[in-house]
């Protein structure tokens, strides 16, 4: 099953003629993703990696049929326009790859997405990969490496750091485990699908038997996962690793911010909340395979 993307997902690439768009289209196609069209306004009629390019998302849908997901590779200042076009055209899943998208643009994208029932991942994300099925974005770099690094299986991975998404998934595969889907939720403060949303999807996915989550200081995503575990909304085992133990805290919190975060957001608060809610904490990245082994034994997952 996997979540968010599989070999049947019909994918559009916005910004397909750019440096990143081209390179990642090659990766996606090479890995088995069904890339059906690309869009770059003004460059309609061209082809990139055998994928037809159109001037607009509307035109692409008219010509190639339904689109399930769009990967956006346009420069950061243009992300808002590209995303709103795709939402308006009725695409239900967006992947916003670029870094440095202004946060107020993300707020606007979120408002439109909410009205149309669209999900978006990112911004500032490497993407999503379901081993053996498909990749959306740029995880793995090349088809060969992506195939070599990630094995198919029943562990769902969700991470706030791109590199760590790959690292956790690689070290788990190397230790003999397999993965259902790996998700880089995005490195920014406001992202479309934060940990709790991804966990919800994993919880509903029959292929996924347990989850590994990489969290960071700031925001309340990890604490909210703990809340969900306590409310019984997440029943599958969760292994968590929180980065930034050494980083200094406190500078980000304003008076009003204290209201939202309410003492949450720090390394200590995240670890404590997760532990209390029944998550298993790995103290170091390299420790994750060992913790996963124990958790699987305990939950009879082998």
């Amino acid at each position: 099953m996997a979540i968010l993307i599989d070999e049947k997902t019909r994918v559009l690439v916005q910004g397909i003629t750019g440096r990143e768009g081209r390179a990642r289209t090659k990766l996606m196609k090479g890995y088995g993703t069904m890339v059906v069209a690309g869009v770059t306004p003004g460059k309609g009629g061209q082809e990139v990696e055998g994928v037809p390019v159109f001037d607009s998302v509307y035109e692409a849908m008219e010509k190639v049929g339904p689109i399930d997901a769009s990967a956006v590779f346009v420069p950061a200042p243009l992300v808002k326009a590209a995303a709103l076009e795709a939402i308006d055209a009725g695409v239900k899943l967006l992947l916003l790859v670029p870094d440095r998208v202004p946060i107020h643009d993300v707020l606007e994208i979120a408002a439109h997405a909410e009205r149309k029932g669209t999900k978006f991942i990112g911004p500032n994300t490497l993407g999503v990969l379901s081993p053996g099925r498909a990749v959306l974005g740029m995880i793995g770099g090349r088809p060969e490496t992506a195939r070599q690094w990630f094995r198919q299986g029943d562990i769902g991975v969700s991470s706030r750091s791109g590199g760590i998404t790959s690292a956790i998934s690689y070290y788990l595969s190397r230790a003999g485990f397999g993965l259902s889907t790996i998700v880089h939720v995005g490195g920014d403060a406001v992202v479309g699908l934060p940990h709790p949303e991804v966990m919800k999807l994993f919880e509903q996915d029959p292929q996924t038997k347990m989850m590994v989550m990489f969290g960071e200081i700031g925001t309340t995503q990890e604490e909210r996962v703990a809340d969900m575990m306590e409310r019984g909304e997440i029943t599958k085992p969760v292994v968590a690793f929180i980065g930034g133990k050494a980083a200094k805290e406190g500078t980000r919190f304003s008076h009003a911010g204290a209201i939202v975060e309410g003492g949450r957001g720090s390394y200590a608060s995240k670890v404590e909340r997760l532990k209390k809610a029944g998550a298993y904490i790995a103290e170091a990245l390299m420790d994750i395979p060992r913790v996963v082994t124990e958790v699987r034994r305990k939950h009879g997952l082998d």
């Binding site: 440095r100 107020h104 408002a111 590199g163 403060a189 479309g192 209201i259």
Partner: protein
């Protein structure tokens, strides 16, 4: 988050239509005296620094006369408060305060919406207030497509018991604060305190506004030098680094100094991470081995070799470091040979003598490690490359061993020699630099590896000499990716006919200055 000074924040509020005290920014005691004279009232002098709690720090003075103002200003200006040297004071009329409130707008990351926060009991200890007097706090999520018009604010505030003229003034202020927050791409905008005067007027007595780093480019009028969160003014080297980042959109480069002048005895190393999570993890690994990091650097998002090169040159502008550590997540999607080439070019130019451990795991790591191995013999210091199967802890341990074995050599910063191209050199512009080829050396060249090394098809042979295979415009627009492969291939052939000049404005002067300081 790029913080604004109080006086900048107040300009924004005033422009939005919110009342702020009459006042002026001054930089000398004389100006302070004149400002108080012009005001014709009792006044307050406030240091302009990005710190909260300035009153406790002695940064706020009340004065009655111009003479007093002059004296107070003389005492405040030029002093050091925490990490800041006071350069500016805001001189304002003293308000007759009847009551202090709080108003703010922030972003609720989970709801993905702006959140308006208002407190009728002020902003200090707002968490406790929220707990003990929930009625005193108003929070409201705003739908950005609808905005936050005055009538909404009025409805909310009237439920808190505000009435009449005061209600109208407060709701107008709250709505305008939201508009300013949106217009200036703020991460947060707070008025604290929001003051009601004895005359019944509503004033923003102090304000804290922070602008979204990613949107600073939309607001050149704010004059933000470095769009990053700092609790001190940026260092000279940070400013140089920021310019590099600003002028090159490919990938991300972040440079932050922990100390400006690393002391060799204290185990400082140059730190070069890749990617947020991987950098943090790698940093933990070296800190756990007893090292301190002189700087925190992150190059990620598939940066070209030229950007990694510049990052390394800037890191190597810190005297006193005893090692160089580069490490990311270990399983990077970006093409790691770019990082390898950028690093070896910088290391060769600077002839570094300190050891370097470079963990370049991920996509094309074999090629990256091979590059490091090939060129390590041209670098005086010991260079070791590692990949995804080597943990950060192991690599940090290696660096420790190399530092000890090498007798704890201390890095000396080399002056940057200006490059003078050989007469008649062939050259073309790249996105951020220039490629020079000394064709006079090509005639006797047997290997001729340069063209083959350029996998981007930018070079071709013409009459036995490498020249552009594409137009000059295309090369300058980024078709030449500044991957440095041609330069390094020719170097290995023993010819050194290719030089790729990648200027870093201000770095030569900076290095000259610090080498003189010794």
């Amino acid at each position: 988050m790029a913080r604004l000074f109080e006086y900048q924040g107040k300009q924004i509020l005033q422009e939005a239509g919110i009342k702020v005290p009459r006042g002026k920014v001054v930089e000398t005691p004389e100006q302070a005296a004149r400002a108080v004279e012009d005001l014709g009232t009792e006044a307050v002098l406030k240091i302009q620094v990005w710190l909260k709690g300035r009153a406790q720090l002695g940064g706020i003075r009340f004065v009655k006369t111009p003479q007093e103002a002059k004296k107070a200003a003389a005492e405040l200006l030029g002093t050091r408060v925490k990490n800041f040297v006071v350069e500016k004071l805001l001189v304002e009329e003293k308000l007759k305060i009847e009551r202090e409130l709080f108003a703010g707008v922030i972003i609720d990351d989970y709801e993905k919406k702006p959140l308006v926060v208002f407190s009728s009991m002020g902003g200090t200890g707002i968490e406790e207030i929220a707990r003990e007097h929930p009625d005193a706090i108003l929070t409201h999520h705003v739908d950005v497509l609808e905005g936050f018009p005055e009538y909404k604010a009025r409805g909310l505030l009237s439920r808190m018991g505000f009435k009449g003229k005061l209600l109208v003034k407060l709701s107008s202020t709250l709505s305008k604060l939201y508009q300013a927050f949106r217009k200036y791409d703020a991460r947060s905008a707070e008025i604290n305190p929001l003051v009601i005067t004895e005359e019944g007027e509503v004033y923003a007595a102090d304000t804290h506004i922070a602008i979204d780093d990613y949107a600073v480019y939309r607001h050149p009028e704010l004059g933000i030098e470095i769009a990053r969160e700092f609790d001190r003014p940026p260092t000279e080297l940070e400013k140089i680094a920021y310019k590099v980042e600003e002028n090159d959109y490919r990938g991300t480069f972040y440079f932050f100094q922990m100390v400006e002048k690393p002391v060799p005895d204290e185990n400082y190393i140059g730190f070069h991470g890749a990617g947020g999570g991987g950098s943090m993890m790698s940093m933990d690994a070296v800190l756990n081995r007893g090292f301190k990091i002189a700087n925190f650097t992150d190059t990620s998002g598939n940066p070209p070799a030229s950007k990694v090169y510049r990052a390394a040159k800037i890191i190597l502008s810190q005297p006193g470091i005893i090692g160089y550590f580069a490490s990311g997540s270990g399983v990077a999607s970006q093409e790691q040979f770019n990082s390898a080439r950028g690093l070896v070019k910088a290391f060769m130019e600077d002839e570094i003598e300190i050891p370097a451990v470079l963990r370049l795991g991920g996509n094309y790591e074999e090629k990256a490690i091979e590059i490091l191995e090939t060129f390590s013999r041209f670098i005086p210091g010991k260079i070791e490359g590692y990949g995804r199967d080597d943990s950060p802890e192991f690599c940090a341990e290696r660096l420790k061993e190399l530092v000890e074995k090498g007798g704890r050599k201390v890095h000396r910063v080399k002056p940057i020699k200006e490059y003078t191209p050989p007469p008649g050199a062939y050259s073309f512009k790249t996105l951020t630099g220039r490629v020079y080829i000394d064709h006079s050396l090509c005639a006797r060249c047997q290997a001729r590896d340069c063209v083959e090394a350029c996998t981007y098809g930018v070079l071709k042979f013409e009459d036995g000499k490498p020249v552009l295979a594409i137009s000059e415009e295309e090369a300058a627009r980024g078709k030449c990716t500044e991957c440095l492969a041609c330069e390094l291939a020719c170097f290995l052939d023993g010819k050194k006919a290719i030089h790729i000049e990648l200027p870093i404005p201000g770095l030569a002067e900076y290095r000259e200055k610090i080498t003189k300081e010794g």
